[in-house]
C-alpha cells in the first residue's frame, strides 16, 4: 500500500460528452501506482461546503508522462466547483486508494458492464487487460446509460478491439432498456466467462444476481458515501457475509470499492 497526499497540477480539462469532463492531472507517484478499479479522493477548492473530498475512479494513467485522469459529470456543488478549475491550477489528491479489478485468468470471455459514470474504472481496466489477452480470449463491453450522450468511453473500448454493446434507457442508442438485460443475454452461455461491473448500485445488484445464478465469477465496484476514503471513519460500510455465515461490515474505501459479488449482502 503506497498512498500519497499531494497537490496535482491540472494539465488538461476537456469536455468529453453532454455533461462529462475529463480532468488530466500531473501526479507521477499516483500515475505510476494506479491499478484499474482504484480511485483518488479529490479536493478541488478550499471551502467548507461541500465539505468532503469526493472519490473518483481513475480513468487512465500514463506513468511515463506522470499523468492520470478522472472523468466526471457535473451534478451538484462539488462538481460545479471542480468544473471551474483551470489548466495550471492544482487540486489536492489522495490516492491511489482501494481494491482493484482482478483479471480472472481462467476465463476466456471478459465481460465489462459499465453503467453511466461507472465506466471510467472499466476503461482503465480494459486498457490494461486487452494487451494481456490471448487470441482466443474475448473482451465484451456492455455499456449502459440513461441516454446516448451519457455514454462514456465507447471510442476507447473500440480502439482496444473490444466488442461493444449498448443499452440506453431512452433507446437513443442501442438496445432500449437496462444494460443488465444485455448481460443476461450474453450469459445464455455462461462458460469460461468473468464479469466486471461498475455503475449504480441497483445495476450492480442485478448484475450480481445474474452472475451468481449462473455461477459466473463477478467483481463489482460499489458506490458509497466516503468521508475519508482511507478506512478511518467507517462511514462507507458495506455488509458482507463472513465465513461463519454471519454478516459484518467491510469498508467500501479500503476493502473495496471492488468486491466479489458473492461477498456482498444486499439490504
Amino acid at each position: 500500500m503506497s498512498r500519497y497526499e499531494l497537490p496535482a497540477v491540472v494539465v488538461e480539462h476537456q469536455r468529453r460528452g453532454a455533461n462529462l469532463y475529463e480532468l488530466i492531472l500531473h501526479a507521477p507517484p499516483i500515475a505510476e501506482r494506479a491499478t484499474p478499479g482504484q480511485f483518488v479522493m479529490v479536493r478541488a477548492v478550499r471551502t467548507h461546503a461541500p465539505l468532503w473530498r469526493r472519490p473518483y475512479s481513475i480513468l487512465r494513467a500514463n506513468p511515463d508522462k506522470g499523468v492520470f485522469s478522472i472523468l466526471y459529470s457535473v451534478q451538484s456543488a462539488f462538481t460545479e466547483l471542480l468544473a471551474m478549475k483551470r489548466i495550471g491550477s492544482t487540486v489536492q489528491i489522495l490516492g491511489p486508494l482501494g481494491s482493484y479489478f482482478q483479471p480472472v485468468r481462467a476465463a476466456r470471455r471478459h465481460i465489462l458492464v459499465a453503467g453511466g459514470v461507472g465506466a471510467p474504472p472499466l476503461c482503465f481496466f480494459a486498457a490494461r487487460l486487452a494487451p494481456t489477452l490471448t487470441p482466443d480470449e474475448h473482451l465484451l463491453i456492455l455499456a449502459g446509460a440513461r441516454s446516448s450522450e451519457m455514454l462514456v468511453g465507447l471510442d476507447e473500448f473500440r480502439a482496444l478491439g473490444a466488442q461493444v454493446r449498448i443499452a440506453t434507457d431512452d433507446g437513443s442508442q442501442g438496445y432500449q432498456g437496462y444494460v443488465t438485460d444485455l448481460l443476461a443475454q450474453a450469459l445464455d452461455d455462461p462458460l469460461e466467462t468473468a464479469v466486471y461491473a461498475c455503475g449504480p448500485n441497483r445495476m450492480l445488484r442485478t448484475a450480481a444476481d445474474i452472475c451468481l445464478a449462473r455461477g459466473v465469477p463477478c467483481q463489482i465496484s460499489l458506490d458509497a458515501p466516503m468521508p475519508c476514503g482511507v478506512g478511518v471513519c467507517l462511514g462507507c460500510a458495506i455488509p458482507v457475509r463472513t465465513p461463519d455465515g454471519g454478516v459484518w461490515y467491510k469498508r467500501a474505501c479500503a476493502e473495496g470499492p471492488v468486491f466479489w459479488a458473492e461477498e456482498v449482502v444486499w439490504q
Binding site: R43, H48, L94, P225, P227, V230, V232, C233, L234, A237
Partner: protein, 304 residues
C-alpha cells in the same frame, strides 16, 4: 524567538496541544504513511467497548452544509483486540496515546477502563459520555449530571490514569455536568462531542441515515461548540479544558486557546485533509512567534 508548545492537563503532559479526536483517526496507525504521527500532541483512539461491535447499518454518514452527520454506532474491534494487536504497533511512534472508553452500561465503562489501565503505554483515558445508556432507553449518559458523576467516579476507582471526561452538547447547559465530572474525579474535560441531527433526502423521501438521528460535526458546529466551551470555561476556571468541534485551521484552534483551552482536538477535518493536525501545529507555532508569545500560557484565556 523560541516558543514552548508543551502543555500539562493536570497529570497529563503533552508535547503540544494538538490532538486528533476520537473516531476520526481510526486507531492511529491507519494514517501512519500520510501523517508524521510522532509530531501529534496525542492520538485519541476510536472509542472502545468491551466486546467487538459491528456498528449500525448503512447509510452511516451524510454530508450537511459545512458539516456531516454520522451514525457509526461505535463499530470497533473491542478493547482486547486493541490492546493485543493495535496498541503495541501504535506505541512504537512514541506519541501520547489516549484511549477513548465507551460503554452502554456503567459496568462496561469500568471494565474497559480497567483493562486499558493495566496495559503499558497509555497516557490517559477519555470517557465518551455520548454513548447510549441501555438502562435509560438509549439516552446519552452525558446529558445527566448524576450518571456522569457515577461513570467518572467508578472509572476513577478502577483505573489509575489521567481521566478526561468528554461532554455531550445535547442539553441546554453543560455546566452542571461539567462540574459533576470534575467533582467525581475527572482531571480534564473535552468538549464537545457531536450534536444530534437529522437529514432527509427529499428525492427518495427517506432519512439519510439508517438510524434517522446522527451526530453532527465539522466546521458548522464551531460556533455552538465555542459557546458551550466559553460557558464551561467561566463556570470552571481552573479545570483543564480541551476544545473540540469544527477545528480545521490554525485560527480555529487558536480561538479555543484564546477562550481558555489547554489543548484542542481535530475531528472531521482529518477526513478532508489528513495532515490538518500538523498544519495547525505549525500554524500555532508561527502565530506565537509572530505575535511574540513564548508559550501557550500567555495566550490562554485572553478572550473571556
Amino acid at each position: 524567538m523560541a516558543v514552548n508548545l508543551q502543555v500539562a492537563l493536570g497529570r497529563l503532559r503533552l508535547p503540544n496541544p494538538v490532538m486528533v479526536a476520537a473516531g476520526t483517526f481510526g486507531y492511529g496507525v491507519e494514517y501512519r504513511d500520510l501523517v508524521d504521527l510522532t509530531r501529534l500532541g496525542a492520538i485519541v483512539t476510536k472509542s472502545l467497548t468491551l466486546a467487538p461491535r459491528m456498528g449500525n447499518p448503512p447509510p452511516r454518514v451524510a454530508e450537511t452544509p459545512a458539516g456531516m452527520l454520522n451514525t457509526i454506532g461505535l463499530q470497533n474491534d473491542g478493547v482486547d483486540a486493541f490492546l493485543l494487536e493495535t496498541l503495541p504497533r501504535l506505541r512504537e511512534y512514541g506519541v501520547p496515546i489516549i484511549v477513548s472508553v465507551a460503554g452502554e452500561t456503567l459496568e462496561e465503562y469500568v471494565q474497559v477502563a480497567a483493562k486499558v489501565s493495566r496495559a503499558e503505554g497509555v497516557a490517559a483515558l477519555e470517557l465518551n459520555l455520548s454513548c447510549p445508556n441501555q438502562a435509560r432507553g438509549g439516552m446519552e449518559f452525558g446529558v445527566s449530571a448524576e450518571l456522569t458523576a457515577q461513570v467518572v467516579a467508578a472509572v476513577r476507582r478502577a483505573a489509575d490514569l489521567p481521566l478526561i471526561a468528554k461532554l455531550t452538547p445535547n442539553l441546554g447547559d453543560l455546566t452542571p455536568v461539567a462540574q459533576a465530572a470534575v467533582d467525581a474525579g475527572a482531571d480534564a474535560l473535552s468538549l464537545i462531542n457531536t450534536l444530534l441531527g437529522v437529514a432527509v433526502d427529499a428525492q427518495t423521501r427517506r432519512f439519510r441515515l439508517s438510524s434517522k438521528v446522527g451526530g453532527l460535526s465539522g466546521p458548522a458546529v464551531k460556533p455552538i461548540a465555542q459557546y458551550h466551551f466559553w460557558r464551561v470555561r467561566q463556570a470552571l476556571p481552573n479545570t483543564p479544558l480541551i476544545g473540540v468541534g469544527g477545528i480545521s485551521t490554525p485560527d480555529d484552534a487558536l480561538e479555543y486557546i484564546l477562550l481558555g483551552a489547554h489543548a484542542v482536538q481535530i475531528g472531521t477535518a482529518n477526513y478532508v485533509q489528513p495532515t490538518t493536525a500538523l498544519e495547525i501545529l505549525d500554524g500555532i507555532h508561527n502565530y506565537l512567534q509572530q505575535h511574540g508569545f513564548e508559550s501557550l500560557d500567555a495566550l490562554r484565556g485572553l478572550v473571556g
